[in-house]
């Protein structure tokens, strides 16, 4: 590998000794991942502790009560678990409704923005681009309040699920736009010309050529928009008014002290995330392997 000259230039280093910088880096990685995962592990473990303040040090026995709730022999609820927490369940419903709305808003907006930026070469393109990505770079709370007061001032629309949808859609559409732009830049424009030349109408070009090409990106954009919407707190908190989502409800519950039910929700989130991440990784590796084979 190395040339003789380079070997001479390099400080002599016996081959079999340990490379301390490598060891240090590996130890560092280990500590970093411990830092990332230890708090999450603690959160997960405490969900199974019978102690009604979430803890792992003060262990009062294994229980699933926080996931299921518990009723005594007479049928009275003794321990309130996840299914009995109506506001969490309703919050999840609100979150899903908002996420669905955000997908419906942000995919057409993102796609339109991407088409304008990639296909319409005007002198204003850079300005347009800056404007269209600015929601990503704006603090979430500013986006939340400005949307909330704007719709109330001009359309008498009270803060709620709809304003939250709009506020989230504003910046999630920018993420979708960036994904669509990346895809559109790889498109062979000649295909659309070929279709036109063969007599296709502009609708048919869009439906048979452009849309199928964009389909994978539409799918990933929908997933990303869904996740971003479900997870969002800062923007939602300022735009939701008297209503609530799963995440803002977790937030308001945390203000009043800790409850193991939140740990239970945490466990559900962790399980979902880990499963999805593992599936995603495996799918990606399979695709890479297929590409390498082709």
């Amino acid at each position: 590998m190395t040339t003789a000259t380079a070997d001479r230039l390099r400080p002599a280093r016996p081959r079999l000794t340990v490379d301390w910088s490598d060891v240090a880096l590996n130890v560092y990685i280990g500590v970093f991942f411990l830092y990332l995962f230890l708090p999450l592990l603690i959160m997960v473990l405490a969900a199974f502790n019978a102690n009604d303040t979430p803890s792992v040090t003060d262990w009062r026995g294994f229980t699933l009560d926080w996931f299921t709730g518990r009723t005594d022999a007479a049928g009275n609820l003794v321990v309130k678990g996840l299914p009995q927490e109506d506001r969490f369940i309703q919050g999840l419903g609100h979150s899903l409704a908002i996420a669905a709305g955000v997908i419906v808003i942000s995919i057409p907006l993102g796609l339109s923005g991407a088409l304008v930026l990639t296909r319409l070469e005007t002198r204003a393109t850079t300005l347009l681009y800056t404007l269209l990505v600015s929601p990503i770079l704006t603090p979430g709370i500013v986006l939340g309040v400005s949307t909330m007061i704007f719709w109330r001032d001009y359309f008498a629309l009270e803060a709620g699920l709809l304003t939250t949808m709009i506020a989230q859609g504003t910046f999630i559409a920018s993420y979708c736009m960036l994904m669509f732009m990346a895809r559109l830049q790889r498109q062979d424009r000649v295909l659309e010309e070929a279709a036109l030349d063969l007599g296709a109408s502009s609708f048919m070009v869009f439906r048979r050529i452009t849309l199928p090409f964009l389909m994978p990106t539409i799918a990933t954009s929908a997933v990303i928009a869904f996740l971003q919407s479900i997870e969002n707190y800062n923007t939602t908190f300022f735009a939701i008014g008297g209503s609530w989502t799963l995440v803002t409800e977790i937030g308001s519950r945390m203000r009043f002290g800790l409850s193991p039910v939140i740990n239970a929700i945490g466990v559900v989130f962790v399980v979902f995330t880990v499963t999805a991440a593992v599936i995603w990784t495996l799918a990606r590796r399979r695709e890479l392997a297929r590409k390498a084979a082709a």
Binding site: A194, A195, D197, G199, A200
Partner: protein, 362 residues
């Protein structure tokens, strides 16, 4: 089926300050194989895109058959274009590709499938209908593109250097096939190329373009034997060029004073005395002149190099400080031993005198 005539009247194209095509009149006859030949950037693709409808000309009208199509979009013209990179739809099967134009015209699926099979038969691709384009070889993809274009039964088929991605052998094979398909269908073919071999072997007539202007439109033989301008003379085939000044004219011939000597050639441009001129001679029309006093133009030249090219020997000489190339037929052994100072010459009928102008190599 008989293809339609394509007529360009005073058509020009400018992009901002840049003039891609100067005002041009051009008539392509119905059912002929017509090539537009020129170096890259000469405006030939622009003309093609104006005929197909992707570009709207800055001035002038375009007529196909009896209809003025200037204001129609590409999807409403009776033309089909075969793109340089073929532009097969990667997410559709071969037959869906071929039948796309029929789908656009609302033909029912069963009928589309039947037509696609027929066309694939025509281009010698039977049994490949359900494959994806990516699974085909370069030559097969070529045929799919041709079938797809023919499916819409165009009056005019436009081809934008479609063979340039193929290797030499396949290219030569496809030339013959394209020519055969054109004969069989009778469609007007407009073929864009920078390869003079392609243009000369396939076409009925050729237009040679340079810097946004058509320099000559003629049958292939005329393009080769009677080039109209210095550019055409040097772009199509090889020519020896002698620059000079006309010192005498008579009987349709002109005598030109050049650094290598005084030569007589056909006065194609009708030059008068004192005009600046260029005299062109094909390398294969130059012969050894030793002992042939009947040869009109003679000169002494120093042999610098010989390249054996099988049937020919290319002899590179220098006369009056200018290079001269001579192609000798490889018969006997005289050519192989040619050396030193030689007397060479060419007939006046084989030399062409044109008004001085731009050469292709410049």
């Amino acid at each position: 089926m008989q293809g339609n005539e394509v007529a360009l009247q005073d058509v020009s194209m400018r992009f901002g300050d840049f003039v891609a095509v100067h005002p041009t009149d051009l008539t392509i006859r119905g059912g002929e194989f017509f090539s537009i030949l020129g170096p890259s950037g000469c405006g030939k693709t622009t003309i093609l895109r104006m005929i197909s409808g992707f570009l709207r000309p800055s001035t002038g009208r375009i007529r196909i058959g009896d209809g003025d199509v200037t204001d129609l979009g590409p999807n409403r013209r009776p033309t089909a274009l075969i793109f340089q990179n073929l532009a097969l739809f990667p997410l559709m099967t071969v037959w869906e590709n071929v039948a796309f134009g029929l789908e656009a015209r609302g033909v029912p699926k069963a009928e589309r499938r039947r037509r696609a099979e027929e066309l694939l038969e025509l281009v010698a691709l039977p049994g490949q209908a359900d494959k994806m384009p990516a699974a085909l070889s370069g030559g097969q993809r070529q045929r799919v593109a041709v079938a797809r274009a023919l499916a819409v039964e165009p009056a005019v088929l436009l081809l934008d250097e479609p063979l340039s991605a193929l290797d030499l052998k396949l290219r030569q094979h496809m030339r013959a096939e394209l020519k055969a398909i054109q004969r069989k269908t009778g469609i007007t073919f407009v073929y864009i190329t920078h390869d003079q071999g392609e243009a000369l072997t396939m076409s009925d007539r050729v237009a040679v373009m340079n810097q946004g202007r058509i320099e000559q439109v003629a049958a292939t033989e005329a393009i080769y034997n009677r080039p109209a301008t210095p550019f055409v003379a040097t772009f199509v085939g090889e020519h020896n060029v002698f620059r000079g000044r006309v010192v005498g004219v008579a009987n349709g011939h002109a005598r030109v004073e050049t650094p290598a000597g005084r030569f007589v050639g056909v006065n194609a441009d009708g030059l008068a005395e004192h005009d600046e001129a260029m005299l062109f001679v094909r390398p294969e029309r130059i012969a050894l002149a030793e002992g042939h006093p009947e040869i009109d133009n003679q000169l002494d030249a120093e042999v610098e190099r010989r390249d054996l090219e099988g049937p020919f020997v290319n002899v590179f000489l220098r006369a009056g400080g200018r290079p001269v190339v001579m192609h000798l037929t490889n018969v006997g052994d005289a050519a192989g031993r040619l050396d030193g100072r030689q007397r060479i010459g060419f007939a006046a009928e084989d030399a062409l005198v044109l008004r001085a102008g731009q050469l292709a190599s410049e």
